[in-house]
């Protein structure tokens, strides 16, 4: 039996920026959830659900020994801090954009 939970229940994250490229490091709290996050939180899914702001290619680097993933999102900051009109031009809150995604967890 699977049920939907917010990714925030399983993982924590921090967002950073360089120019118009956003990066989010995402880490599972419990190593047992690593594989399900790896299967469900893919670059393709981010592009599909958050493509309104994540406009360029998205890459994911996996660091299983840290229980982590690094998402690197080109053209993901509406121009970057020096051009964006977003109140959060650095995309500091993009970590919680990802943590708001829903994942299916097996009970």
């Amino acid at each position: 039996m699977s049920r939907p939970v917010a990714l925030r229940e399983l993982a924590h994250a921090r967002a950073g920026d360089k120019g118009n490229r956003s990066s989010v490091g995402l880490f599972v709290y419990d190593a047992r959830h690593y594989d399900l996050v790896a299967r469900q939180v893919t670059p393709e899914r981010l592009k599909r659900e958050l493509g309104g702001v994540l406009k360029g290619p998205i890459r994911r680097y996996d660091l299983p020994q840290l229980g982590g993933f690094n998402f690197v999102m080109d053209d993901g900051l509406e121009g970057g801090v020096n051009q964006s009109l977003n109140l959060d031009g650095h995309g500091k809150s993009w970590s919680f954009l990802l943590l708001g995604l829903t994942v299916e967890i097996e009970d």
């Binding site: 921090r14 659900e49 309104g52 020994q65 229980g67 982590g68 109140l87």
Partner: protein, 447 residues
């Protein structure tokens, strides 16, 4: 310094406006060999250029004098070297000001060094390529504000070898500020890539100050941080092989855990296996973390490969003016009234005034930061309309503020709390320059 002992290095600032008292506490109680103040970002560097143009004696970090006055007496008492990029666009001016402060404090004989040569404005021209933008410099069509190459640890080490107590640089790679004193203390070779990679990991972890010690981390109910109001700054106990334990003062608030370290390890990193600095291409992907007592985490396993032949250059351009203005609505129907006001702004700016400047309209409390990505369900009854416009002239910026303010009488019912501001902005692009074309220069001063 000997090669067998532990070197203790701390971070006293992670950005230009960082707090002062955690740095003072670190130098007073941390038994540090060195403390690093990292205070330069792309924006602050461009503002430094502008300040220096207005007054040739300025262009360094505005908090330099206050920081030096608080830190220098303690640093001398404890034998702690001070390494910083607070020189920003004027390292010499910063060094002279530091000597002045040291003399006023009676710190006779204090040795200060400045590092210049990062300003490469004279080495670039309209034909310089900006590869990530796909443009040549002359095609940007904006006024050049400044161009600075990222120098590395190799450029800083001679000053430390010569006995400088304080080293003031302009643009250097952030982790290199930490690598330089570590490499000098342990005698690391400039082609010992693995060890330089390990030192770079330590520098990267420390360079954002409290972001390693519980700052930028707390999430009530999920990630708790003790006494965040008094969060301490981090220090590392480093061994000659580049392994380290990162921690904070026991007396300071905050948290050092595997979780805080992981979040900072990947902060602003792209390919974790190839973190490029002027010193080394560091490999973060093999890093191992282990708990090492209360608020202590051991770091090991970083790798490194040969450094790049070219140095990154940040080229800053005048970006015009950012105009922002807001007005708030609260109580029943607040969201509808704020939406109506937003529609009025778009109609008047675009259709009545014919503005084609980039315009953004947010509803703070409902749809702002994540507004372009997703709609959150909302029954908010306290909503702020925010209008932002990138203006090419002062008149255009003033117009936005005027129009939003005029909503007080001419807009929907109950609008209050108008505020507006106009901020000069900078646009930056990256260029790359041959390492050999850049000549670091060190000057020495004595109090």
């Amino acid at each position: 310094m000997s090669k067998s002992r532990t070197v203790r290095i701390g971070c006293g600032a992670g950005f230009s406006s960082d707090r002062l008292e955690p740095a003072v506490d670190l130098v007073r109680e941390g038994r540090l060999d060195a403390i690093v103040f990292e205070c330069v970002g792309e924006r602050t560097l461009a503002f430094g250029h502008r300040d220096r143009r207005a007054d040739p004696a300025r262009g360094y970090n505005p908090l330099l004098e206050r920081r030096m006055r608080a830190i220098l007496p303690l640093a001398r008492e404890h034998g702690t070297k001070v390494v910083t990029n607070m020189g920003v666009a004027n390292p010499k001016g910063a060094a002279e000001k530091t000597v002045e402060v040291a003399r006023a404090l009676g710190l006779k004989g204090l040795k200060v060094a400045s590092l210049e040569g990062d300003d490469v404005s004279a080495l670039i021209g309209p034909e310089t390529e900006l590869p990530e933008a796909g443009l040549r410099l002359g095609e940007v069509g904006r006024q050049l504000v400044g161009a600075n190459a990222y120098l590395g640890a190799e450029a800083m080490r001679p000053a430390l070898a010569a006995g400088a107590d304080v080293l003031i640089a302009g643009r250097v790679a952030d982790p290199s500020l930490f690598v330089a004193p570590l490499a000098e203390a342990f005698g690391w070779r400039t082609d010992d890539w693995r060890t330089l990679g390990a030192g770079t990991v330590i520098g990267h972890l420390l360079e954002c100050s409290a972001q390693l010690t519980g700052g930028f981390f707390a999430d009530p109910g999920y990630k708790e941080v003790k006494d965040l109001a008094h969060v301490g700054f981090p220090l590392a106990e480093v061994q000659a092989d580049g392994s380290a334990v990162v921690t904070k003062l026991a007396s300071a608030g905050g948290l050092v855990s595997e979780r805080t370290v992981k979040e900072q390890l990947l902060y602003e990193v792209h390919d974790p296996a190839a973190y490029v600095t002027p010193d080394v291409v560091a490999d973060f992907s093999t890093v191992r973390l282990a708990p090492h007592g209360q608020d202590r985490v051991a770091i090991s396993g970083a790798g490194g490969r040969p450094r790049p032949d070219k140095l990154k250059v940040t080229v800053g351009f005048d970006g015009g003016l950012l105009a922002e203005a807001g007005i708030s609505y609260a109580g029943p129907g607040a969201l509808d009234r704020a939406r109506l006001a937003g529609g009025i702004m778009r109609e008047r700016l675009v259709h009545l005034h014919g503005s084609n400047a980039p315009l953004r309209i947010d509803l703070i409390g409902v749809s702002a930061l994540h507004g372009s990505a997703r709609d959150y369900p909302s029954d908010a009854q306290d909503v702020r309309l925010r209008c932002a416009l990138r203006a090419s002239s002062r008149e255009e910026a003033d117009l936005l503020l005027w129009e939003v303010e005029a909503l007080l009488c001419c807009g929907p019912a109950g609008g209050g709390g108008y505020r507006g501001q106009i901020t000069p902005s900078i646009i930056t692009h990256n260029a790359f320059i041959d390492r050999g074309a850049v000549t670091p220069r060190i000057s020495y001063y004595e109090a």
